[in-house]
Amino acid sequence: MAAPCFFSRLWRAALALLALGSLAASQIEDQAKQFFRSGHTNNWAVLVCTSRFWFNYRHVANTLSVYRSVKRLGIPDSHIVLMLADDMACNARNPKPATVFSHKNMELNVYGDDVEVDYRSYEVTVENFLRVLTGRIPPSTPRSKRLLSDDRSNILIYMTGHGGNGFLKFQDSEEITNIELADAFEQMWQKRRYNELLFIIDTCQGASMYERFYSPNIMALASSQVGEDSLSHQPDPAIGVHLMDRYTFYVLEFLEEINPASQTNMNDLFQVCPKSLCVSTPGHRTDLFQRDPKHVLITDFFGSVRKVEITTETLSLQRDSQITESSYKEDRMDEELMEPLKYAEQLPVAQIIHQKPKLKDWHPPGGFILGLWALIIMVFFKTYGIKHMKFIF
C-alpha cells in the first residue's frame, strides 16, 4: 500500500522535474538564440555636423544631443567619432559661453563637461569623412580620429546640416553626393568594416541621400522626403537662434526614454515625429537590412549593450555540416593542397539583393545635339526654303 503510493508520488515528482527541466532548457535555448541574435559584438558611432556659422547653431545642437544619448547608453568616447564643423560654445555671439542648448529657456545643455570632439572646425571635410568611413587614413592619424570597426561592429552614422536633392553641403564650400556615400558604404562592406549600419540624416530632402545605397545590412532614416524641407524647432529669444531641428528634437525626446535594458525596437523609431509634429515626412529604408526591424533593438545601434547571460547549464551547439574539418595527415596533404582555397560564403549577396534595373529618365536632347540639328535645319531652309519664307515675313 505505501510502496505504490510512494512510487506514484516519486513518478509524479520525476515527471514534474523533467517537465521543468525541459522548460528551463528551452528557455535557455531561447536565451542562447537571443544571445547570438544580432550578430554584433561592438558598437561604433560616427556623428557629423557639416555646417558652420552662428545661424547654424541648431546643427551642432542636433549632433551633440545624439552624442549625449549615445554616450549615455554606453558607447564610450573611444568608439565615437564626433565631427563638428564649427564651435558654437565658444562663439563670440554666444551669450552663454561654453554651452550649447537644445531646449529653449536653457533647459538642457548638451555640451556638458566631457564632450570630446574628434574632428573640429575645418577638419570636417568630405575627404576626411570618407577616409574615416573607409579606413584609408594616413598612419599619423591619432587613434581617436579613426573608425576601428570590424566585421562584428554595428555602426550608427548620424549626419546633419544643409542638404538638397542628392547632396549634403560640407562647410559651405563642398558637397558629398549620395552616390559617393553609397560607394563608401560599399567599400566598408567589402572590407568587412561593419556588421550592420544605421544611417540617420536630418537635412532638407534627406531621403535622397539613402536612395542609392546598395550594400547589404544598411538601415536608413531621414527627416524629410525629396522636395521637402526639414524645419527647425524652437528659437530661443535670449540666444537669438533656432536651437534644434524638429526631427532630431523628437528623436532626442524618444531616446531620453531608452535605457540600456529597454527592448524598444526600430519600428518605434520609425514612428518618431509624424507629419503633424515635423511638418516634413520622415522616411526610412529597410530593404537592404536582413533582419525584420521589429526584431532590431534601439540599443543595437545607439547603445553598447554587453550581452551577459549567466547559465549553469551546458549547451550543445549544432555542428554546421558545411564547415569541413581539416586534418593534417600526411597522406592526405597532397589532396588537400589540390583543392583551391576559398573564403567561406558568409553572405550570398546576389541572392539577397534583388535590384530592379533602374529606368533611365528620358531627357530632351540638349546643348550640342540641339545646336547641330538647328544648324542642319537652317542650312536646309537656306538652300531650299528661302523663297517660301519670304511670304511669311
Partner: protein
C-alpha cells in the same frame, strides 16, 4: 540679301521709321510716364522680405530698460550745451568713460567757399567725440556705428541721452562679436564727414581734421538717430543719401521688422504715389538727408531715424525706441559679411513695399527711346535714306552721300558744341571764383553774389544763338541744324542714360521734362511756343518746378515769392554741398545738361 544691306529693304524700313516716327515717339513717352505712375501700385510692387540668412527670422529678446537714465543724460547734455553754446566735449568724454567705453576726440575745421546763409557759418570748426565698445571675445575686425549728429540749430539732446543709456546697457552684455562705436558729431553733417574721412584715411572734400586715435575695424552698418522730444508718436526713416545712393534694402527690412515687433509706428512720409514721388524728388536732389547719406559713400549701409512728435494719440517713450535699436544692433551683430544679399537700387512706395531696378528701369528706357527714334529719323533725313534714286534726281550728288560732303562741315558742328561747353564751364567755375569781385562792386553778400552770378551766366547763355552765327557760316542751313540736333539728341540720351543708371530718380525726372522739348525743337514751326517749352524745361526751371512739387507733396504749398526765395537758397545750397560733401548735382547740371540744353536752344534759333 540682309535686311539692312539691301537698299530696297533699307528704304522700306526707313520709310516706316519716318512715317511712324511721331506716333511711336508719343506712344513711347506716354508709356514711360504711365509705367512710372504704375510703379506705386500692387502688380509692380513687392512685399519686402529679409534676404540675409544670418539675420534670419528669429527674434531676440530686448532687455533695455534705461529710459529714465536716458532722460537724465539728455537733461544734463541740454544744460551743458546751453551753457557752453557748443558741444560739451569734456562732459561727453566723462560720461562715456563712466559708462565704460574707450573715448577719443577728433577736431576738424573747414573754411566754406562762401558763407552758408541757412546755417550761418563760414569758418566751421568743431570736435567730434566717440566711444568704442570693444567686443569682449572677438578680435576688433568689424564694427557697427550709432551716431547722433548735433548742431547749433538742432537740439538732439534726447538722442544723446538715449545713446549714452544704450551704451551703458550694451557694455553689460557679452554677446557682441563686433565693436560698437558711439559717435557724437558737431556741426551735423560736417562733423560726420570729417570723422568718416579720417576713419577711412581719405581726403575727398578738403576738410582739415586731426587723425583718429582709436579705430575699430571695418564698419558694417550704421544707424543715425535724431530725437527732439521725450516721447515720439512715430519714427521716420530716411534712406536717400548723397548723390542718390541708397543703403541695402535689408537694413530697411530689419528696421521694419523691429518696428512691427515692438509695436512702434514707423513711417515713410506720405502714402502710395505721394511717397514714391517724394522719394524720387529726394533722391534726385542728391543731398545727404542725414548722416547716413555720408556713410553710404564708403559702402557702409546706414539709415537715419527721426523721431516725430505729432498730434497722434499713442505716444512711445524712449524705452521703446531703445528696444528697437537694441534689437537692430543685436541682429546686425549676427552678420558675417557685409549686407549684400538684398537690393541696392530700389524705390519705396511704402515702408513694406519696394520696386526693384528691373521693374522701374523700363520707364526711363521708354523715355530715352524717344530720343533714339528722333535721332534715327534725323540721321535718315540727313542721308536721304528714305528717298529712292529717282526722287533724289535733283540732288547734285551722284554717289552715296557722305556726312561731310553735304555741306555740314565739322567746324560748323563743333563750334556750337564747344561754345556751349564753355558756357557750362563758366557756369561751374565763375560764380564761386568771382564772388569777391562781385561783392566789391555790388552791395550784396557773398552767397547772394554766387547765386546772382549763376543766374546771370545762365541767362547770358540764352543770347548765344545770335552770336554763334557770326562765327559760323553754313552753306546748307537745313542740314546744319539737323546735324546739330542729331548731335544734341545723342549727347542728351547718353547723359540721361548714364545718370539714370546710378541715380534713377534724377535721370527719370530730367528725361520726363527735357525729352519732349528736345524732340520737338526745330527752327521751323511756332518759334515762340517752342521757345517757351524749352525755357520751361531748362535745368533751372526743372529745379524750380520740382521745389514747388516737393512742397506740394509735403502738404506745405508755396506762394510764388516764397518759391523764388527757396529756389535761390537751393542754388546756393547746391553749390555749397558740391564743395563740402562732393554732391554731384551742381556739376552735372552745369557741365553736362546746361550745355546740352544750350545746343537745343541753338537749334531753335538757327538761321
Amino acid at each position: 540679301m540682309g535686311l539692312l544691306s539691301d537698299p530696297v529693304r533699307r528704304r522700306a524700313l526707313a520709310r516706316i521709321v519716318l512715317r511712324l516716327n511721331t506716333p511711336l515717339c508719343v506712344l513711347s513717352y506716354v508709356a514711360g510716364i504711365a509705367w512710372f505712375l504704375a510703379l506705386a501700385f500692387p502688380p509692380l510692387t513687392q512685399r519686402t522680405y529679409m534676404s540675409e540668412n544670418a539675420m534670419g527670422s528669429t527674434m531676440v529678446e530686448e532687455q533695455f530698460v534705461g529710459g529714465d537714465r536716458a532722460q537724465g543724460f539728455a537733461r544734463d547734455f541740454a544744460a551743458h550745451q546751453r551753457k557752453s553754446r557748443a558741444l560739451p566735449v569734456a562732459w561727453l568724454e566723462r560720461m562715456m568713460r563712466s559708462v565704460g567705453l574707450e573715448v577719443y576726440t577728433q577736431s576738424f575745421s573747414r573754411k566754406l567757399p562762401f558763407p552758408d546763409e541757412t546755417h550761418e557759418r563760414f569758418m566751421v570748426s568743431g570736435t567730434n567725440v566717440y566711444g568704442i565698445l570693444r567686443a569682449p571675445r572677438a578680435a576688433s575686425t568689424e564694427s557697427l556705428v550709432l551716431t547722433v549728429p548735433c548742431g547749433p540749430d538742432s537740439t538732439n539732446s534726447q538722442a544723446v541721452g538715449l545713446l549714452l543709456a544704450l551704451a551703458a546697457h550694451f557694455r553689460g552684455q557679452i554677446y557682441w562679436a563686433k565693436d560698437i562705436i558711439f559717435l557724437v558729431t558737431e556741426h551735423d553733417l560736417m562733423g560726420t564727414e570729417a570723422w568718416l574721412e579720417a576713419y577711412h584715411d581719405v581726403n575727398v572734400t578738403g576738410m582739415q581734421s586731426s587723425p583718429l586715435q582709436g579705430r575699430a575695424g571695418a564698419i558694417q552698418a550704421a544707424v543715425a538717430l535724431e530725437l527732439n522730444s521725450d516721447v515720439v508718436t512715430s519714427l521716420d526713416v530716411t534712406v536717400e543719401g548723397l548723390n542718390g545712393q541708397l543703403p541695402n534694402l535689408d537694413l530697411l527690412n530689419l528696421f521694419q521688422t523691429f518696428c512691427q515687433k515692438g509695436g512702434l509706428l514707423c513711417t515713410l512720409q506720405g502714402k502710395g504715389l505721394q511717397t514714391l514721388l517724394l522719394m524720387v524728388l529726394r533722391q534726385a536732389s542728391g543731398r545727404p538727408h542725414g548722416p547716413h547719406g555720408l556713410f553710404l559713400r564708403y559702402r557702409v549701409e546706414a539709415l537715419t531715424l527721426r523721431g516725430i512728435n505729432s498730434f497722434r494719440q499713442y505716444k512711445y517713450d524712449l524705452v521703446t525706441v531703445g528696444k528697437a535699436l537694441e534689437g537692430m544692433f543685436r541682429k546686425l551683430n549676427h552678420l558675417l559679411e557685409r549686407l549684400h544679399q538684398s537690393f541696392f537700387l530700389y524705390l519705396l512706395p511704402a515702408l513694406s513695399r519696394f520696386v526693384s531696378i528691373g521693374v522701374y528701369m523700363p520707364a526711363t528706357g521708354f523715355l530715352l527711346l524717344v530720343l533714339g527714334l528722333k535721332a534715327l529719323e534725323l540721321w535718315m533725313q540727313l542721308h536721304e535714306v528714305g528717298v529712292s534714286p529717282q526722287e533724289a534726281g535733283g540732288s547734285p550728288n551722284p554717289g552715296p552721300p557722305l556726312p561731310g560732303a553735304q555741306g555740314v562741315s565739322l567746324a560748323s558742328l563743333l563750334a556750337p558744341v564747344l561754345i556751349s561747353q564753355a558756357m557750362g564751364l563758366a557756369l561751374y567755375i565763375l560764380p564761386v571764383l568771382g564772388q569777391h569781385v562781385a561783392v566789391q562792386h555790388f552791395p550784396v553778400a557773398e552767397a547772394e553774389a554766387v547765386v546772382l552770378t549763376l543766374l546771370a551766366i545762365y541767362v547770358a547763355g540764352l543770347a548765344l544763338p545770335h552770336n554763334t552765327h557770326r562765327v559760323v557760316s553754313s552753306q546748307a542751313p537745313d542740314r546744319g541744324w539737323m546735324a546739330l540736333k542729331l548731335v544734341a539728341l545723342i549727347y542728351l540720351a547718353l547723359q540721361l542714360g548714364c545718370i539714370a543708371l546710378t541715380n534713377f530718380s534724377l535721370g527719370f525726372l530730367l528725361a520726363a521734362t527735357m525729352v519732349p522739348a528736345a524732340a520737338l525743337t526745330s527752327p521751323h514751326g511756332p518759334r515762340p511756343f517752342y521757345a517757351a517749352l524749352l525755357m520751361l524745361t531748362s535745368p533751372a526751371a526743372i529745379l524750380l518746378g520740382s521745389l514747388f512739387l516737393w512742397r506740394e507733396l509735403q502738404e506745405v504749398p508755396l506762394s510764388l515769392a516764397e518759391g523764388w526765395q527757396l529756389f535761390l537758397t537751393a542754388l546756393a545750397q547746391g553749390v555749397l554741398e558740391h564743395h563740402t560733401y562732393g554732391a554731384l548735382l551742381f556739376p552735372l547740371l552745369a557741365l553736362g545738361l546746361y550745355p546740352c540744353w544750350l545746343l537745343f536752344w541753338n537749334v531753335l534759333f538757327w538761321k
